[in-house]
Amino acid sequence: MVQVRIWGSLAAMTEDQTEVEIEAGTLRELLDGLAEKYPAIRPQLDRGVSVAIDGRVYNDSWFTPINPDSEVVLLARLKGG
């Protein structure tokens, strides 16, 4: 299981939890698992998210490995100028 930190305004979509547990070994499994366990979060996932894994930010790469003890944080989708 991976512990995932959710940002505050999304907690309403995850039964008011800011940390949730998802069975996942990769980024894709994490996002799929979130959507399955908390369907209300799907609109935000569809709009796009970034995920910080052990302090590094990932946008798209489905098969980025996630260790069970990794720090995983869901972030608003990063853009830049």
Partner: protein, 750 residues
Amino acid sequence: MALDDKQLYQTREFKVVGTRVKRPDGIDKVTGKARFGADMSAPGMLIARVLRSPHAHARIKSIDTSAAEALPGVHAVLTRADFDEITDDDFTADILDNCMAGEKALYDGHAVAAVAANSPSVAKAALKLIKVDYEVLPHVTDVDAAMAADAPVLHEGRANETVPAGMSPNVLSRYEFGHGDIEAGLAKADRVIERTYRTEATHQGYIEPHACLASMGADGQADLWCCTQGHYMVRNTCAAIMGMEQGQLRVTASEIGGGFGGKTTVFLEPVALALSKKTSRPVKMVMSRSEVLRATGPTASSSIDVRIGMTKDGQITAAFAELRYQGGAYPGSPVEFGSMSAFAPYDLENVKTVGWDVVTNRPKQAAYRAPGAPMAAYAVESAVDELAKGFGLDPLAVRLENAAREGTRASYGPTFPAIGLEATLRAAKDHPHWSAPLGENQGRGVACGFWFNFGGDTCVSLNITPDGTVTVSEGNPDIGGSRASMSMMAAEELGIPYEQVRTIVADTGSLGQNEVTDGSRVTFAVGLATIEAARAAKREMCKRAAQVWGIDEDAVEWEDGAARPAGPNAGKHPPMTIKEIAAIASNTGGPIAGHHEANPEGAGVSFATHMVDTEVDPDTGAVKILRYTVFQDAGKAVHPDYVEGQFQGGAVQGIGWALNEEYIYGDDGVLQNAGFLDYRIPVASDLPMIDTVILEIPNPGHPYGVRGVGETSIVPPLAAVANAVSEAAGVRLTQLPMSPPKVLKAVQGL
């Protein structure tokens, strides 16, 4: 993509990287040979002009184009009716609506029709013949006013699920970040301050207006030349709007006269393509400066409440900010990034930000260097400064005391790996600037800033020519020296002189997908791909040498531009240089190239500290910048001249944002200052030399330790200048810009 071990940072002695080689575009640019967007032309080309709404908010009841179409020399008139509606993709539908208004004109300057004609004068005359029947609607341009329950409404039903019921339909999203207990933290403080800060919308101020040339054939294939930060984005967006297959549209990026985030979307290109389709002729469009200001994407204006508690020895006990950003007439202000970055420089036990994305009757905002972060940093760094000085504490020492470090849980969630904020603060504290004396009416300000940086889709193709020189093709327009940087990294990896590598920006038909030049990503991501492409070419060249020598390819290594036998069983063979291997490539298996396609993620975050001295004229309120020093972590400065240029450019744009630049709207919702005479950007005579101190804390996620540097430098200056002006004037201003009338009013206590 997770990086493999070889793509992670490894200590090395650099030979080319880190030097100040000649820039490859310099001669063309200073001699006028470089071709920018407006320099493109084609046989039989038509010129197009756009009719823009004079109203801030109006329903378009009808458009009569018949008189314009009848004017001799006019080939086509275009309105929204010429485009198919997009119903399955709100993001692209909004871009189309911004390029050509549908049911409503949503801001002063919104495009409502376009004409393609034989000449600019005919096109201009035709615009006057188009009759638009408007029903003028109430408008709102201020972010706080737009959130009021009785505000004029731009769109119904666009708010997402995060917005509480009962709010104005102009409020589209809510973001909340943070951890800890704000009230408990504030209770531990010796002083809590609450302030509201406001910043105005500013434009990126790129010197080159938007321009493009589109040519669509009867077979549906099209070519487009334009100035953009991302021609692959232009291709994909235009193809979606035009209902084309992406492979049928080839986009070539021109040289670019600045972008700073403002050229990460499209404004003219779909219109030019549609006109070309309608006329079967090439169509060229060039914006005027007035159009650039009225109808492209400035950044958001903001209204921010900050509440921070501090102990008398400088410990921040809790920090809260509520940020309200208006992003123009469509969803997407960068308030989430403001909310995430506001307190990133601090190690805080109790921190919370709440952000609101709001629409108003202004042009759709576009990215502007570290979008959303400068205004948030302005508010937070002003409040921290006021608290520190209120306790008689050194503002740099307070920032050091509270600084985020490796292991700090960032206010936006993750735990920081190795970061360079503390190094920038210590460098600032040790710099002679910090202890230099100040005169009467002068003040010194400091502020910190943060930006995320990222990677994204990237392709690089590296070709070894028959004479052993090298060409690199990459897919990102060069807005900050990327051709030089890529050539340097290729030369470094191949062990050859920089002068033997030439990098070009390839069109969309030549490489796979490339993310826009944004997010300070190019030196990081394209650099990584360039290094990997060079490594692939080296492997192939080692293989060729092994064939010639009749030994196993594992027994060959690459060093100083040549293949060399390595290991006890390799035998004695003289090194084969890249030129020697290239010369016999046809005999050993054909042309040699290396390429790399990837989505390199894991870019390192970036921090900066800025220090500025100002002098305030108590009689006029004018602010003079006396001295300015930027301290920023670059990971590894590939070409220090360009890195310093990025630091200096960000500082100067921030100075303009702090002191003079603003979108000024009249009561009628019409932009009052759509020109550089009235929209005042800093010029050279306004500024001292911007000094720079490059710090190099390697990014573990890049083979050479590179971090993006293009955006962070605009984050601290708004607050740094505000803190300096506050000290010089003896009174704190909480609204930007601090233009002379506002400063004078504050100084005089009015």
